[in-house]
Subunit: 571 residues, 2 copies
């Protein structure tokens, strides 16, 4: 492709609308343009990067035995009513009535449609396992779309669904998908981790997220420095603290005046104790009902763990007014003794003795409080965020916290949908059973954005070779000089004939603009027909990722590039 | 791919919902399944055929210098209001309000979005010509979707848009697209014709439809038997009848009682004259206003020509009551003399003399009427359907009428959209001009359906090789016999290694079922490991299209197939 003929409107300035790196760079590099809130056109280079990701996904899904199909975007309400999600799914589900009065929606996900398709067409264990996927534009009516392709309303997704006859089989399928996903993101050239994840509202009992590692990521990952353990913070566990061998002597409870000391730091400094010797009492609303949560002063509540422990749908921190309404105590002096609302506790507090707590009275705390003697707790569980002080739950090694962007998610769904939709098959005994399902998503357009969040510098994008829109860009710095143009065209043709995707910058522009644009759009290898070609007939090959430059003779340029690229593109 | 693992639910019986051949066969062959009215899931084989067509389109569009991008399906109302189509476009445009109260629609076509994209990003003649396309799922809320993929609500379309600086340039672009479309449908292996077409409501001045020839087609094509002239009936012209060299003597007008003779045939038989000596008077409502249309007794009105001649939007035949209301004359005795409504005439009547007409009085006709002497006509033009008696307007040869299915349409749009959206560029004189646009559509899913309408027999689909989901199917008729399975797997692997798409029927089913399914799904080459392999070690290769069978040794099977397929797949 020739730059002069390409719709590639690069920008010098960053549009004001963009907040995150990938959004800024995709706008500046002419990859995307906004049509309306959260909805983007993919220009040729943006689409090319997306197609590369799609092709890798397709090859690896097929290799793993999955089959591609394509389901409709417009779906009838009936199936969603049958699964119970017509009511449950929030306003992100775009609902409408068609001209014939049928209630319909734009499918944000396809569990209902695929389950309906399978129940109508497959009836025997002999056709199982079945693993089906599609790559499709989806729409979710986000209330506050943002960050460009990171959280759009319209986006491209690979969604796959598996149907198995037994728990043993679904585990084999799950493992295959786990491996396929690892291969996909490896082949995309991305640094990533598969982490144990919460299953969210979709339900099910086994789930991994695939996270592209990037400082700008919204998710926090907990990763063992020694073994393979890795988990999303929502799900991450730590090795349990051992209780001291000898139970210390329980000291008498004592009420202390702590005027104006409300925060953990202020109270513990005032009392000259460590935050590890204080239990803080937080009020959460779980499905709108208030309850008190106890945890060690230096720990934080993980709301997903809290909601899961109580089988709730939503857990949120109460504000000061809600705290007072629920307890009659001003926030900052709350404690577990004599509270009227239910009290749950993080398990770590069971190892604590003679600790400080709020006195449920303005300006007072207790010291030397003890669980069991001074108060009881209804429910105890793992409710807190893991920290870097914690140890790996598998091997006891140190843990590391890092940031990531979720690009893939695999779940074992179980029989949630097959039971709701009465999707059954006859097993080898002639008995009717519900399919055991799994589902497997990849945000395709998001993967491209995440790749950029991970790979950029001040000059622009640094595309990993396998998903770059072009592998090579050839800069002709003197398009008006016949000798330069012949050399550039020779390289361009030679690479093209060898199936290398190559962009020729044949524009009548200054060298500085060409260099800047090449860096901005992030093509892995830049070939320059410039000054050194004039002087001594050599061509410069520069690697975008590390800036390394080599000089080669014109006649060997194509072969050298082919060699370099073939080494890097491992399948 | 192995049949045993494939979602390929073939059916013995044709589902009652299907009316046309392609719909019946695509359901029976397990290519598609209906989700809701006019909305289908594409199962793996249906999608594979669609992908083949897509790839051919992509290669030929790129070869012609067009660039692929992808625009959103959800579009804001603003742009449609700006182009004037928010009002004009009928209820096929699915409109909705999103959760933030923005009026939006599901894009059935993308003139507005592409024009907006280009006006915001391209500003100079130096970036022209620009030719952009996408392959996308579209939605049109048809009131009566039918015929499966032939007229669905959700369908896959390639839509392309070009932007040129001058009339000369847009003609070059148009010609390139014309050639690209010819290559696309040739490469798909289809018998088709490009025909001159009416431009419909989208406007513009130059337009061709690409028609797959099929007896079941809804469109009538007029094709010259000698030269390249071909047109859709809506647009087809005929060579003008020559007026006789000597004007015959005008005989005196005579009123004849014709009781009960209302139809052309009855009147002309009663009067013992040819229908070619009678002028019939029809009442049409053009944009709801009645007018009389005169044409020769053996001719038929072409309503699109009528509406175009009068710059109307819609022309429809009046019913008997509307005729009486407009003229006061009972239908059957209408004539041009003394009518109060406007009269238009097909140009053929200017060559007629001494003809019969209705007398505008029940039970009476005139004979020996003459234009100019007995009545006048306000507007004369080409208003009729061409017949096989007509001659080619280009070369005077005989014409043939045949049926076709529209699969592609190319239009020169002119400046309709660029003016409405104020999309301009600076020309080489620094002057601001509106882009001259063209638009180019292909119904991708419809092309697959049309291919089936053109290529089938009583046993099923006969896929053209280039768009078949698989090129070869290998039948293992004794999957339990090790020798058979080894032979079948050898052929299957050998073809796969040579990039042939091959389906292995490894099911534990009777040979009859395997033969029937292979015929039904229409794979071009069937390879059977069966009786003759048992007896003398030979493999049978059968061509689906003509039933020709050859016997080959096992070891030469792969090479023979490669040879046959490579000969047929011309690029």
């Amino acid at each position: 492709m020739r730059f002069s003929q390409l719709l590639l409107p690069t920008l010098k300035e960053t549009p004001a609308e963009a907040e995150v790196v990938s959004h800024k760079l995709m706008l500046r590099a002419g990859f995307i343009r906004k049509l309306t809130s959260g909805v983007y056109s993919y220009l040729p280079l943006g689409l090319a990067a997306i197609r590369r990701v799609e092709n890798i996904i397709r090859e690896e899904m097929n290799r793993a035995g999955a089959q591609e199909l394509l389901m409709p975007m417009v779906q009838p309400a009936d199936l969603w009513i049958e699964s119970g999600r017509w009511e449950k799914y929030g306003p992100e589900l775009l609902r409408f009535t068609d001209r014939n009065g049928r209630q319909s929606c734009l499918g944000p996900t396809h569990e209902e449609v695929i389950t309906d398709l399978v129940r109508k067409n497959i009836h025997s264990y002999r056709n199982l396992p079945l693993n089906l996927y599609q790559i499709q534009t989806k729409f979710r009516d986000e209330i506050r779309p943002r960050f460009g392709l990171m959280r759009g309303r319209e986006f491209i997704m690979k969604d796959g669904y598996s149907f198995d006859a037994s728990e043993k089989d679904v585990e084999i399928t799950y493992e295959k998908m786990y491996e396929a996903y690892n291969r996909i993101f490896s082949r995309c050239g991305l640094a990533f981790r598969a982490v144990e994840a919460d299953t969210g509202t979709i339900g099910g009992s086994f789930s991994h997220e695939f996270m592209v590692l990037a400082e700008t990521g919204e998710d926090t990952l907990v990763i063992c420095k020694e073994c393979s353990y890795a988990a999303n913070m929502e799900k991450a566990r730590a090795m349990e603290q051992e209780s001291p061998d000898e139970k210390p002597e329980l000291l008498p409870l004592e009420k202390i005046e702590t005027p104006g000391k409300r925060k953990v730091q202020a109270v513990t400094e005032f009392l000259s104790i460590s935050p590890k010797n204080l239990i803080k009492t937080m009020v959460y609303l779980v499905d709108s009902k208030p309850l008190a949560v106890l945890l060690r002063g230096d720990h934080e509540v993980q709301p997903v763990k809290l909601k899961n422990l109580l089988n709730g749908v939503e857990a949120e921190l109460a504000d000061d007014k809600q705290v007072f309404d629920a307890t009659g105590v001003p926030s900052g002096y709350l404690g577990p003794m004599g509270l009227k609302i239910p009290v749950v506790a993080d398990r770590e507090i069971t190892a604590m003795h003679n600790f400080a707590i709020g006195a449920n009275e303005k300006k007072y705390h207790y010291i030397n409080a003890n669980l069991g003697r001074d108060f009881e707790v209804a429910t105890i569980g793992d409710l807190r965020m893991v920290t870097e002080e914690d140890r790996c739950p598998h091997c006891g090694s140190n843990l590391e916290l890092t940031k990531g962007i979720e690009v893939g998610h695999i779940f074992k769904l179980g029989t949630n949908y097959s039971e709701a939709l009465k999707a059954t098959f006859l097993d080898n005994q002639g008995m009717e059973n519900s399919y055991i399902m799994g589902c497997y998503g990849i945000g395709v357009s998001r993967t491209v954005a995440a790749a950029i969040e991970q790979n950029y510098d001040k000059d622009g994008i640094i595309f990993p070779l396998p998903i770059a829109p072009f592998q090579v860009i050839v800069l002709n710095l003197s398009p008006s000089a016949k000798k330069f143009t012949e050399a550039a065209e020779t390289i361009y043709d030679g690479l093209g004939k060898n199936s290398i995707d190559v962009l020729l910058d044949d524009r009548d522009e200054r060298p500085g603009i060409k260099f800047k644009d090449a860096d901005l759009i992030g093509i892995p290898y830049r070939v320059t027909v410039g000054k050194s070609f004039e002087k001594n007939g050599t061509i410069e090959i520069k690697e975008r990722a590390n800036g390394q430059t080599i000089s080669v003779e014109l006649h060997e340029t194509v072969d050298r590039l082919l060699e370099i690229i073939r080494q890097k593109m491992v399948r």
